[in-house]
Point group: C2
Chain length 407, copies 2
């Protein structure tokens, strides 16, 4: 089997941890697999380099920043090769240029375009364990780029796709994907499988184990993803197209507290106002999530929507500057809100899910402020302090604690 | 003018020092020059990386070591670009792969083979200050190599040759090349010019400002070298083919204390023994410097030679193991010796130099143990404790303190 494994920076933060991961890699190689490993920079390396750069230039050019930061991963793969060598294994480190990992030109947030597989395949044929720098690529100017948030996961999935690997294993500090955050819901159960779409919804809802970019890529190229712990040999969660657990109504409950709610009140009831409003926000790159429009008094209407908390100030500013054009009378906002969602591929064909969720919240005396639904997700906006209670109520109602982890 | 400048790691050890060098570079650019800069890794970066590697693997593979160490220079050039940017200058950093700096395959001690100039020239035409990683290259396998000791100086000179630069400036923590080590000889004077050959002799004699590899390269490609301080704007020393000071008999006095003397006594007087002896040492990569052969008692002879101190133990071992074959009766050695040399292109046509040097030593009551001469150098082996006195005596005799630094 050809397996691509990805380890994050915290799992290789010091020499001891490097050897932990090295043993893990060696174990898989000893089982007869061809092993390709993607690594992030060790521990705080990236943060230290950023601090060093900011000391010299508070607004460093993105090109030079990528040139600087990419060294962290290069150090990590070289050190891991040395560790494997010292254990008697043949290993070789490769950076993005050596692999031929081509990206778009955008520095600091490049997209992977194309991966040469020749060098990597040659090293695999030589029975080398191949260690590859995550998070980085090179653009058509021959310059180093980095992939932005979740970059190393994306590198691993893209490599798995290009190499036609049998699976791509993402190692983290948790055992896999859970039906809810185990810190908030005691009875949370690890899922043995989820679909790509469920994973996408769960990831965007605060279950920040995998970055969405990597899941989308895995879905596009049918890469079987496994999320598992680097600290034990538990099975982890498989992310794939179709799950054996199709009968399962919902696969998890997730909470996102990075939400603020804004209302513009008394908007004149003429066509195009809402369109203007959201185009304006889009122009400022402010993402709007749930939207609610209600009829107000005296032929006016109220528009309420949610955004990420750190966009709140800018949003209020933009709205204020355009009050006349947007015709609203007043604004209101609330940061003390949370979005709780149930996710499950099974709910598409089952209309009772929403009712069951609302019943759970009603029983727990939790007021629903807004509702949003998609094919495989139902989200409600509630008071932030009630988030944990809501998760538990929903988790119990759907008996998610009883899911047997099976493969 | 197109100028290649090289700065060592200690001169860019922290943010403040980075800006010192950045101002220096900017000054030259403001004078209307095209500026290419070669940098070493900052301060202790390389040592820290070596320590990190050794913690993981006491004998790391050289390939992986080069992969690891090359990140230090890449960080340095990126940070310098950021510093220049913040001062309002256009600058771009390039690593060995981006430049196209091709070397032999030998990891950790590669030789530069060929440098592409296309990218660098394009950046110069865009009026960019071009910052290039010293010490590293890439081999025909597309792997990163490093150039070994004095690597960054070599990078700078090779770039100057490839770009047909008007000059190559090597910045150090001293003002230039002196007639003697200023710490040992108070009247030591800075030379305004020396020839490549003189520089080669001086460098190999312990005036460790420039590594011989870079001087040899400069000589081969007629690159005008300037050695100057990064701490002030003094003129420094120009190293070139022919000096204006041809009439100067000698250009400097140098001392090398890293010397041990070995004697094999009572070698039977038959042909080929000396040949066997030195071939044996060459096989063990032990460099022999001065050799003296004298007739001993009873038809035997004694052979005395000098080597570097850290080869002493191995040499004695090798000799002992081959005592029978080499036919000698006993061995003697002395570590308490120093080699004092006068260097000067002028002495080739002036037979009086040796006599004058010996007279100086005689007057100072210093006994000469061995003598070695070349076209532009006379070396004597003396007691180590007398080295400083010898240097001063010779320096005074040749009135080196009276040389006017001129251009």
């Amino acid at each position: 089997m050809l397996i691509v494994k990805k380890f994050g920076g915290s799992s290789i933060a010091d020499a001891e941890k490097v050897f932990n991961v090295a043993r893990r890699i060696a174990h898989s190689y000893d089982e007869g697999n061809d092993v390709v490993v993607v690594l992030s920079a060790q521990g705080d390396t990236t943060d230290d380099l950023i601090a060093k750069a900011k000391e010299i230039n508070p607004k460093p050019s993105r090109r030079e920043m990528d040139m600087l930061l990419s060294t962290g991963e290069q150090q990590a793969v070289a050190l891991m090769a040395m560790a494997l060598n010292s254990m008697g294994y043949s290993a070789i480190s490769l950076n993005a240029h050596q692999v031929g990992m081509y990206t778009s030109s955008t520095y600091s947030n490049a997209r992977l375009r194309n991966i040469d597989t020749e060098r990597v395949m040659a090293e695999i044929e030589r029975k080398n364990i191949v260690l590859i720098t995550g998070f980085q690529g090179m653009n058509r100017f021959d310059d180093i780029t980095t992939l932005g948030r979740g970059g190393s996961d994306t590198t691993a999935v893209a490599l798995a796709a290009a190499l036609k690997a049998n699976r791509c294993e993402i190692y983290t500090d948790v055992d896999g994907i859970y039906t809810a955050d185990p810190r908030a819901v005691e009875s949370a159960t690890k899922l043995s499988e989820v679909t790509y779409d469920e994973m996408l919804e769960l990831a965007s809802l605060g279950a920040r184990v995998l970055h969405n970019r990597s899941v989308e890529l895995a879905k596009k190229y049918h890469v079987e993803l496994v999320v598992r712990s680097s600290l034990n040999y538990n099975e982890g969660t498989v992310v794939k197209e179709v799950c054996k657990m199709e009968k399962m109504l919902i696969s998890g409950v997730a909470t996102d507290k990075d939400v603020a709610r804004i209302s513009v009140i008394g908007v004149s009831d003429e066509p195009g106002i809402a369109f203007h409003l959201f185009r304006l926000l889009a122009k400022h790159k402010i993402n709007v999530d749930i939207i609610l429009q209600s009829v107000g008094r005296e032929g006016t209407k109220d528009i309420t929507f949610t955004i990420a908390k750190d966009h709140l100030e800018e949003t209020l500013q933009v709205l204020k500057e355009n009050q006349e054009r947007l015709t609203f009378k007043e604004m209101a906002y609330d940061e003390n809100v949370a979005k709780v969602s149930v996710v499950g591929a099974g709910m598409a064909s089952n209309p009772g899910v929403a009712a069951k969720m609302f019943e759970a919240l009603y029983d727990a005396h939790i007021n629903i402020q807004m509702i949003s639904t998609s094919e495989i997700k139902i989200s409600v906006l509630i008071e932030e302090d009630k988030a944990k209670a809501a998760m538990n109520a929903i988790h119990d109602k759907f008996q998610l604690g009883n899911i047997k982890a099976r493969r």
